[in-house]
Symmetry: C2
Subunit: 206 residues, 2 copies
């Protein structure tokens, strides 16, 4: 294995492999194969083998892959073998749902901060988090050294919030605002926009 540049499209599949493996693990499966993983994921077995082979020889010929071992390897590759602290900006409906979300457990993330600029909300609690004043965003995030943030604010504020997150040293942003955000090249941004997914499907509906 050479540590050449891995195409981003492969990186994008690894979390799906990991999620599938963790599910197998919960089902008590100890070993799997590229064929089985492919069937579960709707991906060809050859592609899974080739993707994994970019990072090492994780399988055993004739046997397949050890589920716990592959989980360990993928977790390390994706840097989710330890939890990342995450800040959430916006405590409206989406921010609250994100703050309550149980799905980050065992996936490498823990929400530790929740910000809002509404005086009515600041100081109130959502789950185990107390809503912080947005005006303290930069200093608080800097202080804690947080590198990942989730943006759950209206379209109109998304750019300003992003700018402040970047100033605070955040390097990865997941935004629920349906707008493309300008950001430095060394900051990674991903988007969640349900309408995009729905429109992608309505093309095929009559």
């Amino acid at each position: 294995m050479v540590d050449k540049k891995i195409p981003d499209i492969i990186i994008g599949r690894l979390p799906k492999y990991l999620r599938s493996l963790q599910r197998m693990d919960r089902e008590g499966r100890l070993v799997t194969s590229s064929k089985e993983m492919g069937e579960r994921l709707g991906i060809s077995a050859a592609q899974i083998r080739k993707d994994l082979s970019q990072f090492g020889e994780f399988g055993k010929q004739g046997k397949g892959y050890s589920v716990p071992f592959l989980i360990k390897q993928l977790s390390e590759i994706l840097h989710v073998n330890h939890d990342w602290e995450v800040a959430v900006v916006g405590a409206g409906d989406i921010g609250s749902a994100v703050a309550h979300y149980k799905g980050f457990a065992n996936r490498g993330f823990k929400i530790v901060l929740l910000f809002d600029n509404d005086p009515q909300r600041i100081g109130t609690r959502i789950g185990e988090l107390t809503i912080q004043d947005y005006s303290l965003l930069i200093e608080t995030i800097q202080e804690k050294g947080i590198k990942i943030a989730i943006v759950a604010v209206p379209v109109t504020s998304a750019q300003e919030v992003t700018d402040n997150l970047v100033k605070a040293g955040v390097k990865a942003i997941l935004s629920y605002a349906p707008v493309i955000i300008n950001h430095p090249q060394d900051v990674y941004v991903q988007y969640i926009d349900p309408s995009i997914h729905l429109q992608r499907m309505t093309y095929y509906l009559d």
Copy 2:
């Protein structure tokens, strides 16, 4: 323009083009170019031109594209020139946030039904919707002829809910449950899983 099979990867970009154009429209822009769209979207101008040319000749040489005209064309192509009625299953944190979400307006979708199986929730209201009994899911959806549903239930129920939606005649499903769902070929499924996005970024973080 021949109505040959359009690659799905192109279909996936059209909603992004449409969202960007609607934003320009709100900004009062009347005309744009493939260059400008590309810069906003982080996509090459050539690709945008080639994508659009699959469906017709929408531009004017030397001038560019009319923003309102292109919005109209893309809306028709994606079948979002009229609103689709959407059912939401699950009225927990995610389902509630989806039900409250304003971002479907002008994107072609209107949530008209919200189901849950918790007797405590059934009959209560979320926004303008009254939570319906999940046991009435199939007949209600059939009756209304709803073709699109959003699944916001725990992983453990996602498959069963999907099976019932399919029975009810739903053809497009957007699922927030972090698990791959089995479904007939003539039913389209898309997923939203924030952990997948985050893990895709942590690969690049130290």
